[in-house]
């Protein structure tokens, strides 16, 4: 498996509300940049929530947010810093 | 109390049938949305509504069936309109689930049933009074309900207004239990000027959106309402719900909610009941009637009185809630109740329940299709005291 090259900083990120997750795996499967994995950790309901395993891959496209049936994750595009 | 909008009031004397008078009553009461499905003998009500509504700013729609009609009006009610649907026996049966929905969601509406002879298709063009118990108990589960019984075209006008007022005051479906005779009887109907017609406006919540609890009752056990489109973002469900309107399917919430739905009618019953008495004080026999039967009983009562019997007449204007207190009171004073009905004994059961053995209760049954022969009622009056305690 080819590791994404860590030359560029990510332009996006995700927020995960792990306790809402029911572990369906939709977000992991449908992430276009393969940024997510299911965690090895359990949430209180006994499901494996997603983690942003390859954060440099994330573009903040929010496909994970759209596909999540449990409103447990969403992506966002990071804003440019003020100095720029 | 407010008074009627003059635009809907055809002030003057008219020679019209009960169905048309009911339509005029609805329009005068402020009804501006009617959904219906044609069924004899109620069709004249919606025909007149369809004719008149464009001129008073109302919306009439003929739906695909009675089930649709009985819920389209609930959508309209939550959009802020006073609403009505009209039907007869078979359609009334189809509407039962939505009487339950209206009771559960406390949606004010008027449902007119011009009763015809059943069961099933029965005698479509002929009278009966066979839907009275269905009116009380037709939908599943427990709830309070109000039902009125007019006995003339004039009352079809007057009591339709009363039906709308009660629906708004208590936020319940009000059943307007006409019968084919009253619906098709043509008589003089006097419609007063709009300022003489009292109408109950919707009890709207006026406070802030934040403090609004859709199903939190006021002192009379009835909550105030809002309408769609005003930014309240309310939730209305037929599921057992809490005061916010959210589903809450627990034994405790069920107990609180259903108790209140029953109690808001039960505890206000003395304010709602309406009956007319004639010669009841000092009577040995009281004839209990409603609808068309109140008129066929008159010759029988007169004949019995002319023969020296002490006969009183109590006519139910409001059938549900039943005037339990009054019948109990009378049952310890009179020897017998005689209840002529165009059915095999429905309201008779209520009279019998309240009499509780203190007075004899005699039904004068009739399968419907026509009215009683007064002779049968007379004979029942005459015989009712024979063998009575």
């Amino acid at each position: 498996m080819s590791e994404p090259t860590p030359t560029k900083k990510a332009r996006g990120s995700v927020v995960i509300m792990a306790e809402r997750c029911k572990g369906c795996g939709f977000c992991v499967e449908f992430c276009p940049t393969d940024a997510l994995d299911l965690s090895s950790q359990y949430n209180a309901k006994g499901y494996h929530p997603p983690v942003l395993a390859r954060k440099d891959n994330c573009t903040g496209c929010d496909i994970c947010g759209m596909v999540c049936p449990d409103f447990a994750i969403y992506g966002f595009i990071k804003k440019p810093t003020k100095g720029h | 109390m407010a008074t009627a909008d003059p635009i809907g009031v055809l002030t003057g004397a008219h020679f019209i049938d009960g169905d048309h008078a009911c339509s005029e009553g609805a329009i005068a009461a402020g009804c501006r949305f009617v959904a219906g499905y044609p069924i004899t003998p109620s069709t004249e009500v919606v025909e007149r509504i369809a004719e008149r509504f464009p001129f008073v700013g109302g919306v009439f729609i003929q739906m695909e069936d009675e089930i649709a009609s009985s819920i389209a009006i609930q959508g309209a009610a939550w959009a802020g309109k006073k609403t009505m649907t009209v039907t007869s026996g078979p359609g009334f049966s189809l509407m039962m689930e939505h009487i339950g929905l209206a009771a559960m969601t406390e949606t004010p509406l008027v449902l007119v049933d011009v009763q015809r002879a059943g069961p099933s298709t029965g005698l479509p063009t002929m009278p009966a009074q066979g839907d009275m118990m269905q009116a009380r108990w037709g939908s599943h589960g427990d709830y309070g309900i109000i039902a009125l019984c007019p006995n003339s075209p004039q009352e079809c006008f007057d009591l339709t207004i009363k039906a709308f007022n009660l629906a708004e005051q208590y936020r319940v479906p009000v059943l307007f239990m006409m019968d084919e005779c009253v619906g098709h009887m043509i008589e003089r109907v006097v419609i007063p000027s709009a300022d003489k017609i009292e109408v109950t406006p919707r009890r709207m919540h006026t406070g802030s959106k934040e403090e609004y609890l859709a199903f939190a009752p006021k002192a009379d056990l009835v909550p105030d309402m809002v309408k769609a489109g005003d930014g309240y973002h309310m939730h209305v469900t037929g599921l057992t719900h809490d005061e916010k309107g959210y589903p809450n399917m627990t034994v405790g919430t069920q107990a609180r909610l259903v108790r209140r739905l029953v109690d808001k009618i039960k505890l206000n019953a003395e304010k709602i009941v309406d009956y007319r008495e004639d010669g009841v004080e000092g009577a040995d026999i009281v004839v209990v009637t409603y609808g068309i039967t109140s008129r066929t009983a008159l010759p029988a009562i007169e004949q019995a009185r002319s023969e020296g019997l002490k006969v009183g007449h109590l006519r139910l204007v409001v059938a549900w809630p039943f005037p339990e207190k009054r019948i109990r009171e009378l049952s310890s004073k009179v020897k017998a109740f005689v209840v002529p009905e165009l059915n095999f004994g429905q309201m008779t059961l209520e009279v019998e329940r309240c009499a509780a053995g203190r007075a004899n209760t005699v039904c004068v049954p009739h399968a419907g299709g026509t009215v009683h022969n007064p002779k049968d009622i007379y004979e029942a009056i005459r015989d009712s005291v024979k063998g009575a305690k």
């Binding site: 369906c24 049936p69 449990d70 440019p80 | 609930q74 309310m234």
Partner: protein, 256 residues
């Protein structure tokens, strides 16, 4: 210019964009793991947010069933009515206040079996409403009974030997009854679906969006089609996007 300076790692995440339209005090919802209904709600909310509609004037009406619970989770004027009767309720609501944008959001069994008569007549009348139908091919809430949308030969709890009735082609039904906008997507086509719902909301008249969604608990498991994710992958691999298709040709077979 070094690219990393463009982005501030410490910037706080924005609030979840859809939460403003959910009744958060009712989340988590009742839907099973891998159920697609939540995904459709997600897309619906995003479509609403970009639609430009005044959200105080949007009312959602649901019937009964798993999808029937959608209304209860949306922070809009929302009505959870009786089984099959969301459309006539919505008809009354719309006619009584034409300012409202009325959306019916319910399931396949609710809208096309018990509510089938209302569906065809609302389309025929061209009542100004958007109907969003989540088709999971089964009665989910009551335990997986056969529906008019269950594919031929699929099993259900009331067709344990296989469904022998023909399957409803809902886009064809809607179009033939007069709908002005007809679309079918799957819960896996989230961007297309969101755009489609937005288009439907923008149409005047009876618009209809059918969404195929997995029911892993009662349809997929019984028919040995895997879990919700397997269904979503199947949709991605096998669904064919045909804009302007002749709806007569879009009937569905059992996937296995």
């Amino acid at each position: 210019m070094v690219e990393e300076q463009l982005f501030d790692e410490e910037v706080a995440a924005p609030a979840n964009p859809i939460e403003s339209l959910l009744r958060m005090d009712r989340i988590p919802h009742i839907w099973c793991p891998g159920c697609g209904i939540g995904t459709t709600v997600n897309c619906f909310i995003r479509a609403l947010q970009t639609s430009g509609l005044n959200l105080d004037k949007v009312a959602v009406v649901s019937g009964i069933g798993c999808t029937g619970r959608v209304a209860g989770y949306l922070d809009l004027d929302s009505f959870h009515t009786t089984h099959g009767r969301a459309i006539p309720f919505a008809t009354g609501l719309k006619l009584a206040n034409p300012e409202l944008k009325v959306v019916v959001y319910s399931g396949d069994g609710d809208l096309t079996a018990i509510g089938g008569n209302h569906f065809i007549h609302a389309a025929r009348r061209n009542v100004d409403m958007t109907v969003i139908l989540v088709n999971n091919m089964i009665y989910g809430m009551t335990g997986g009974q056969v529906a008019p949308t269950t594919p031929l030969n699929a099993t259900a709890s009331t067709t344990p030997h296989g469904n022998f009735e023909q399957t409803f082609n809902l886009p064809f039904l809607a179009e033939s009854c007069g709908a002005v906008y007809v679309a079918r997507w799957t819960a896996s086509h989230v961007r297309h679906l969101t755009k489609s719902i937005k288009e439907a909301l923008g149409k005047k008249g009876f618009s209809f969006v059918e969404i195929l969604a997995p029911c892993p608990t009662l349809f997929s498991r019984r028919n040995k089609l895997g879990d919700g994710l397997d269904q979503m992958e199947y949709y991605q691999e096998h669904a064919e996007i045909r804009h302007g298709a002749d709806t007569k040709t879009v009937g569905m077979d059992f996937q296995s």
